[in-house]
Subunit: 523 residues, 2 copies
């Protein structure tokens, strides 16, 4: 048994059964060791596809994803989506093949500071020192990724992979096997003390309190349901963080709006609250800074109470608050049903409404619509039960890969990727993996042919005339991207829609047929 | 005048007149400052396009390229091609917009360790501290990028860009203006001492000496010509480094084969030499390590002589060696003319020969053919005069961006990108920039629908049966990529060729018509 085999068998024992990979020469032994390991390899044609897919997979599977990349530059190509995973507290174990230890320091073309690349996105980084260390190193990586939770990066020199190693001993195997799944749940078990519960319950009984929920409190239907009962009992307002890593929505779950993106809007939303209670989320800060605008969203006079910090058990905390505030008045309202798109030429509002109207029960919606998803959020609150995944780290080019990974994790659930065109161009290679694996992903490209968010920012900054340099840097329409051609070129059937009627028909077909589809919604 | 304006006017004064950009909200003031600065912005739809284009631009323009990226993740997406630039000693100045200094430390989604991302590829990294520092910081970045030469990264917090600054004083402006172009030449002026000249001349007179030339000795036609005269006078053999950043070739220049890629082949090539003389190149090491194969290419018994180290003036050193060894016997042979492709279905050899036969006088050939360019190198030695750019850092996905940048630098020269399909998929977004800017780039996609180099490596490792995991990780044919659709989707006219006749006809049309074209050569 060589080091690579001992490593991958330990990974399989830890429940890391899928590996999103773009390997090269230094990883050949790791690739060979996949055979017989029980780990299923999935090829991405760009590393950002692999890392984004790992993020989407782990968010949906509830266990860490495994990634295999090629040296420093391969890792570098995957960093942006690892940044998103780190910000979303997604457990991901990244294996990076490196040159043999004997080959270091000679300036070979691909020699690079692999650990240096890894550090900004990783909660844990190690370079293995010997073949027999790989099984233990993998165990430590899984521990780190699931405890933080976050990205753990293990650099595997080629000679550690090809060198002889003992089979991982029972002790290592048992530790690894017990680790991953258990810890992902365990990461949320930090119990909130009674004082915080009493404090939050008191604040929520105030005349106009706001309960802001983060992914820890949004990712389970139980927590969302209980939050709704607390709101009904206390008349507090519920808000979701702007970009939740995962949120259960729709059906009988309470409709929870999200906190506004722009800081002035968000501050206005919170102004007049008697208290802000935080469940599984830090105090909100603005996405970007603007001249003269505070970074903190909460008005300075607003009392802030922490019910649970990220990583604490938000479900348990909400349950205990609910017990204190008593039962709600009356039953929860029945589902409102999704909105209906206005007929005729597509607008951002009608694209959002059409997606909400078309999504089947149990859909996983991967939302990287940027400006294009504004209409979707409201329209879909009353849609059938679904899971929403949002862009946690702001690094665009996440949606198509994340949808890919979510579909691998949930083969029985339809996946819908509501996707802006500018960000889709970053990682369009994900469509090929969807085609190869036959994944049931419907990609809705909202083709506004612009970096619209920048145009919005310009307007907000009072720039009426963008000038000769600025205008072309936000315009994606010269030449126009033909998403039907791009998708077809990667094996994904695609159509264009320009009206609500066309979009509804196209989505209906895409959702009904198995396998990937793309709809270019020109809005 | 704000900080952004003072920075960009200083950049223009330093001769950095093109900026490859993918900006976001934190760079809006830098984008606005492009107007009136004299710096031409060129949009890439992915940051790896911007950084690879900067590399290709600077190699051809002989002055640094400027890049503008968005926060840590935007920089991360550009790192792989900055790695290539760093390994190729290409001067590139990277501007990264960051959050305002007042916004740091609050955990905003896009907050990241920008300097940490930058360090592995940069010879110089700085975060500006104030608006009035930006002009000077830019000057220091240009100095660093042109002196090393390499990648200098300047992180620009948004409030430094939008804050008020004095116009850059005359002293800063003069220093900046004098710096860039002068230093790029100056970086090669380290003069070799007479002892090294005498030593190299003596070694080259030996019975079977080899003169290995790096990019410093290959990038000027004078140096290549003189190397040919030295070879004719001493009967030494000339070899080019395997991946030269830039090499002048064809026409009356001597045909110089490149050192083999695989270490055993390369060592065999050098075995039997009486001496190895290095001009502008370090002692060769193998690209990757293999079990039981030394990393050093030169056999241990082979005497190695350094005529000039990278960064020293190789042209001057070759001139002085030529004076010592005397004039060659007879005149240089006339150009051999390019090879002719065998008719019928395409092979790797006939693709290379067809490109060599089709390339017009003065072409810039960007070679990321990987296994597909083996046939091209030999066939093109006798082609009309041209410039070849090779992949210096091994980070694939460099060719289409580099061709884009080379075409921006040399609008009067046709650019041909000989490109493997697997690596092209990393940065296919470059085609859109070629279409938008109307660049005269002909992309030849050698569509073998595989990571062929990995299949070759497997065969070399004696793996006959790649196994169920390994085979799919090297197969890009399921589903097949349709490059005609992909190119068309980004506005680049494209055709497929399956025979030499079709390929020659397609290349003839592509080269004759202005603007970008793509030919998918199925081989």
């Amino acid at each position: 048994m060589n080091g690579a085999e001992s490593l991958l068998r330990s990974a399989a024992a830890a429940g890391l059964d899928v590996c999103f990979a773009n390997p090269g020469t230094t990883e050949l032994d790791l690739v060979r060791a996949l055979d017989g390991s029980g780990v299923r390899p999935i090829l991405g044609l760009f590393e950002g596809v692999c890392t984004g897919a790992a993020d989407g997979f782990a968010r949906m599977a509830g266990r860490p994803a495994l990634v295999l990349l090629h040296l420093g530059p391969g890792l570098a190509n995957g960093l942006a989506n690892l940044h998103n995973a780190a910000k979303g507290r997604t457990p991901v174990v990244v294996l990076v093949g490196d040159h043999a230890t004997t080959h270091r320091g000679r300036g070979a073309p691909l020699e690079a500071d692999v650990e240096g690349f890894a550090r900004p996105v990783s909660c844990w980084v190690r370079t293995s020192a010997a073949p027999e260390a790989l099984a233990r190193d993998l165990g430590d990586a899984v521990d780190a990724a699931t405890t933080a939770p976050g990205v753990a990066t293990l650099v595997v020199p080629a000679d550690c992979a090809w060198g002889e190693a003992e089979p991982a001993g029972e002790a290592v195997r048992a530790r690894v096997a017990g680790g991953a799944v258990a810890r992902t749940a365990a990461a949320l078990t930090g119990r909130v003390d009674d004082r915080a519960i009493a404090d939050a319950a008191g604040a929520l009984r105030g005349p106009a309190a706001t309960l802001l929920l983060g992914a820890d409190a949004l990712a389970s239907p139980e927590a969302v349901t209980i939050a709704g009962r607390v709101a009904a009992a206390t008349e507090c307002r519920l808000l979701a963080e702007t970009f939740p890593a995962r949120m259960e929505r729709g059906g009988y779950l309470p409709a929870i709006p999200k906190l506004d993106y722009f800081p002035q809007d968000a501050t206005r939303t919170l102004t007049g609250s008697s208290a802000l209670v935080l469940a599984g989320v830090p105090a909100p800060v603005s996405f970007f800074a603007y001249p003269g605008v505070p970074s903190e969203i909460a008005p300075p006079e607003l009392p802030v109470h922490v019910l649970s910090a990220p990583g604490q058990d938000a479900l348990d905390a909400l349950r205990r608050v609910a017990e204190r505030v008593g039962p709600p008045d009356g039953a929860a309202p029945p589902p409102a049903g999704p909105g209906e798109p206005a007929p005729g030429p597509l607008t951002l509002a009608s694209v959002g409404a059409a997606v909400a109207a078309a999504q089947p029960e149990g859909a996983v919606v991967v939302d990287e619509g940027i400006t294009a998803s504004a209409g979707y959020w409201a329209a879909s609150a009353g849609a059938p039960r679904h899971t929403l995944l949002a862009l946690t780290g702001g690094a665009i080019g996440w949606g198509p890969p994340a949808a890919t990974g979510a579909a691998v994790a949930c083969p029985d659930r339809p996946v819908i990727n509501l996707q802006a065109d500018g960000s889709a161009m970053y990682t369009l290679q994900a469509l090929w993996t969807q085609a190869r694996e036959g994944l049931d992903v419907t990609t809705v490209i909202v083709a506004n042919r612009a970096y619209r968010i920048l145009e919005v920012e310009m307007a907000r900054a009072g720039i009426d005339d963008p000038g000769p340099a600025l205008a072309p840097l936000t315009d994606l329409g010269t030449p126009g991207l033909d998403w039907v051609a791009l998708a077809t070129g990667m094996g994904v059937p695609a159509v264009q829609a320009t009206t609500s009627e066309e979009l509804l028909a196209a989505l209906g077909r895409a959702v009904a047929e198995p396998g990937p589809h793309l709809v270019e919604a020109v809005a």
